[in-house]
C-alpha cells in the first residue's frame, strides 16, 4: 500500500495489546505520513514482521500470548534482517529493572522509552531520528 503523503515508504509495525494505545500510535504515525502495520500480539507481530520487513518496529513489552522480550529475541534469531531491524520498546516498567536493561543490551539495536514520560510527538521524533540514521534500503 503506497502512502500518499510522502514519497518514501516507511513501514512501522505497532505491536500493542492495548487497543487504545495501538490506535493512538497507529493514527498518529499514519497522519505523519508513515505506512503503519499493526499486530495485536507477539506471535502475530513476528509473522507480519518477517513477511513485510518494516523499517522500524514499535513493540510493547507486556503482552499476552508472547511477551515483548521473547518476541524480540526470536526475531533477532530469524535471519539477517531480523537481526538488524531497529526496535523501540514501549514500557511502563521502571527503568531500573535489571532484566529490561539486560534485554535491551542483548537485542541491539533496541531502545526503550517509558510511555508515561513521553509525549506522542516525542515518540514520533524518536522514530524519525532513528530512521534518518539508516541508509534507506531499496
Amino acid at each position: 500500500m503506497e502512502n500518499t503523503k510522502k514519497p518514501k515508504i516507511l513501514i512501522i509495525e505497532v505491536i500493542e495489546d492495548e487497543t487504545s494505545q495501538r490506535k493512538a500510535l497507529a493514527e498518529k504515525f499514519t497522519r505523519e505520513g508513515y505506512h503503519v502495520l499493526e499486530a495485536k500480539d507477539g506471535e502475530e507481530g513476528l509473522k507480519i514482521a518477517l513477511a513485510e520487513h518494516p523499517d522500524i518496529i514499535l513493540l510493547d513489552l507486556m503482552m499476552t500470548q508472547m511477551d515483548g522480550m521473547t518476541m524480540l529475541k526470536k526475531l533477532r534469531q530469524q535471519n539477517s534482517w531480523g537481526e538488524s531491524v531497529p526496535v523501540i520498546l514501549l514500557t511502563n516498567l521502571s527503568a531500573d529493572n535489571d532484566k529490561l536493561i539486560q534485554g535491551v543490551a542483548d537485542t541491539s539495536p533496541a531502545y526503550y522509552l517509558m510511555k508515561a514520560d513521553w509525549t506522542i510527538n516525542d515518540v514520533v521524533e524518536k522514530v524519525r531520528e532513528r530512521l534518518s540514521r539508516e541508509v534507506p534500503t531499496a
Binding site: 492495548e18 487504545s20 494505545q21 500510535l25 511502563n92 521502571s94 535489571d98 508515561a116 509525549t119 506522542i120
Partner: protein, 495 residues
C-alpha cells in the same frame, strides 16, 4: 519446627496471634509466680519444722536435766519443771496426731503447735507441708522419726513417774543415799532414753535438711527447664510474627506497586489522545474546547506524577530500588531541576539566586534519587512563594567531623540549602511536615495542586541515603530547607 502448626498460625487473625502471645506471657508469669510462692511456702514450712525440732530437743534436754537434778534434790519443784518443759514435745505430738486424722480439727492442731513453741505465723505453712507432703519420702521419714521420738518421751514420762513415786514416798533429801539402789537404775534408764532421743532428734533435722535441698534442686531444674521451654516457644512465635509483619509490609508495597503500574496504562493512553486533540490532529478546536482539554490534560499529568511518586515510595520502602551512582556535579542536577520550573518561575517573576561553594567536588551520587529530592524541594519553594519573591539555593561541602547547623558530619557530606520568601509553614503544623499527605492549611486554599507526598518522599530518600533533612519556617516569611547527604568517593577540587 513441625510440631508448631505453622499453617494454622498463619491463618490466624492479628488479634488471634496477639492473644496467643499475651496468653503465653500471662501463663508464664502466673506459672513463675505460682512456682515461686509454692517453693517459698515449702521451704518456710521445712524451716519451721527444723526450728520446731530445735525447741523440741532443747525442751527435752532441759527436762532431763531437771529430772536428773530432781533425782538428787528430791525437790518437787524440779519435777514440776520437768513436766512443764515436756509440754513442748507433747504439744507437737498433739498436733501430729490430729493432723493424721482424715478430718482434723485445725484449732486442735494450732493449739498443739503453739504449745510446742512454734510461731503462730508459721502454723499455716507447717500444716500445709504436713497435709500435702505426708507421704513424700523425706517428710514420711521425718514423721516416723518424730513418732519414735514421741514414744521415747512416753517412756521417759513413765520412768520419771516411777521415780516420782519413790521420791514422794520418801522422807526428803536425807533419804537420798538410802534410796540410791532404786534411783540409780531409773536414772540409767533415763540416760539411755536421752541418748536415743539425741539420735532421733539429729535424724529428724538431717532428714528435713535433705528434703529442703531436694526441693531447692527440684525447683531450680523446673524453673530452668520451664524458662528454656517457654522462652524458646515465645522466641519462635515472636520471630514468626516478625516474619509476618515483614511480609505484610512487603505485600502492602507490592500492592501499591502493582496498582500504580496498572494505573499508568490508562493514564498514558489518555495523555497521548489528549495531546493529539490539543495538537489539532483530530481537527481544529475552538478556544473553549482547547481550554477544557488542557484542563483535562493537566489533571491527567497530575495523576501520572502522583502514580510515579507512589511507585517511587513503594520501591524505596520495599527496598527494590537499586541505586546506581555516577560521578556527577550536584549543581548540574539543580540546574536541571530549575529548568523544569522555568515557566512557572518566569510567570511569577521569582528571583533565583544560586550560591555554590567554589570547591564543590564531583561526587558519586545517584542522579535519579537526587533529582526527585531536588525537584520536590525546589517545586515547593517555587510553588509556595508569591509573585516577586526570591528563592535561594546554596550548595556547599563539608568534610567528616566538620559541623553544620549544630550537627557533626559523620562523613564527607554535601549540603543543600533552599530558602524562599514564601508562605511558610504554620508553627503548629511543623512536626507533621514529613508525614504522608501533609499539606499546610495555609497553602491548601491557595494551591490545590500538591500531592502531599513530596516531602514524605524526600525524607524517605534522605533516610535511604543516610542523610538528614530539616527546615526552619515562619508563616508569611518563608522557609529554609536543609539537606545533608553523605557522599563517599568525592574528589575535592584543589582550592
Amino acid at each position: 519446627m513441625d510440631f508448631i502448626p505453622t499453617a494454622w498460625l498463619e491463618r490466624l487473625s492479628v488479634r488471634g496471634k496477639l492473644s496467643i502471645i499475651i496468653g503465653l506471657i500471662v501463663f508464664l508469669l502466673l506459672f513463675g509466680f505460682a512456682e515461686f510462692t509454692f517453693g517459698m511456702k515449702v521451704m518456710s514450712g521445712i524451716r519451721a519444722y527444723v526450728g520446731g525440732e530445735g525447741l523440741w530437743s532443747k525442751a527435752q534436754k532441759a527436762a532431763v536435766n531437771d529430772l536428773t537434778r530432781y533425782s538428787e534434790s528430791f525437790d518437787e519443784a524440779d519435777y514440776q519443771s520437768f513436766l512443764v518443759l515436756l509440754h513442748v514435745p507433747l504439744g507437737d505430738k498433739q498436733a501430729r496426731l490430729e493432723l493424721d486424722k482424715d478430718r482434723c480439727d485445725i484449732n486442735v492442731v494450732h493449739e498443739g503447735f503453739l504449745a510446742g513453741g512454734n510461731n503462730k505465723e508459721d502454723l499455716d505453712d507447717m500444716v500445709f507441708l504436713y497435709r500435702r507432703f505426708r507421704f513424700v519420702s523425706y517428710m514420711d521419714s521425718a514423721i516416723r522419726t518424730w513418732t519414735e521420738g514421741d514414744a521415747e518421751i512416753e517412756r521417759l514420762l513413765t520412768v520419771a513417774a516411777r521415780m516420782h513415786a519413790v521420791v514422794s514416798a520418801s522422807h526428803g533429801p536425807l533419804d537420798q543415799i538410802a534410796l540410791q539402789p532404786q534411783i540409780v537404775p531409773l536414772m540409767e534408764q533415763i540416760h539411755t532414753i536421752d541418748q536415743k532421743l539425741t539420735v532421733l532428734e539429729n535424724r529428724f533435722s538431717a532428714t528435713l535438711g535433705e528434703g529442703s535441698r531436694f526441693i531447692r534442686d527440684l525447683l531450680f531444674w523446673v524453673t530452668l527447664v520451664g524458662t528454656l521451654v517457654f522462652g524458646t516457644l515465645a522466641l519462635l512465635i515472636v520471630l514468626f510474627i516478625r516474619k509476618m509483619i515483614i511480609q505484610v509490609d512487603a505485600a502492602k508495597s507490592e500492592f501499591v506497586s502493582l496498582a500504580s503500574h496498572q494505573l499508568r496504562t490508562p493514564a498514558t493512553n489518555m495523555k497521548w489522545f489528549l495531546e493529539m486533540i490539543i495538537g489539532g490532529d483530530a481537527g481544529p478546536l475552538n478556544a473553549k474546547q482547547k481550554e477544557y482539554f488542557e484542563e483535562v490534560s493537566e489533571n491527567n499529568q497530575r495523576m501520572i506524577s502522583l502514580v510515579n511518586m507512589l511507585l517511587n515510595i513503594a520501591r524505596i520502602e520495599l527496598g527494590t530500588f537499586k541505586q546506581s551512582t555516577e560521578q556527577i556535579q550536584i549543581t548540574e542536577l539543580i540546574k536541571e531541576a530549575l529548568k523544569e520550573y522555568r515557566t512557572l518561575i518566569g510567570f511569577k517573576s521569582l528571583t533565583i539566586h544560586e550560591v555554590y561553594a567554589p570547591d564543590l567536588p564531583v561526587s558519586q551520587i545517584d542522579p535519579r534519587l537526587w533529582s526527585v529530592v531536588l525537584q520536590n524541594v525546589i517545586s515547593n519553594a517555587v510553588k509556595y512563594t508569591p509573585s516577586g519573591g526570591t528563592v535561594t539555593i546554596g550548595v556547599s561541602f563539608k568534610e567528616k567531623n566538620e559541623t553544620f547547623g549544630g550537627r557533626i558530619m559523620r562523613d564527607d557530606s554535601i549540603i543543600v540549602v533552599i530558602t524562599d520568601t514564601g508562605y511558610g509553614i504554620p508553627k503548629d503544623q511543623q512536626d507533621k511536615v514529613f508525614t504522608r499527605l501533609f499539606r499546610g492549611d495555609n497553602v491548601k486554599e491557595k494551591d490545590t495542586d500538591g500531592t502531599g507526598l513530596g516531602l514524605y518522599l524526600v525524607k524517605l530518600i534522605l533516610d535511604h541515603l543516610r542523610g538528614d533533612v530539616w527546615f526552619e519556617s515562619e508563616e508569611n516569611h518563608g522557609s529554609t530547607f536543609y539537606l545533608v547527604v553523605p557522599v563517599s568517593g568525592s574528589i575535592r577540587k584543589k582550592k
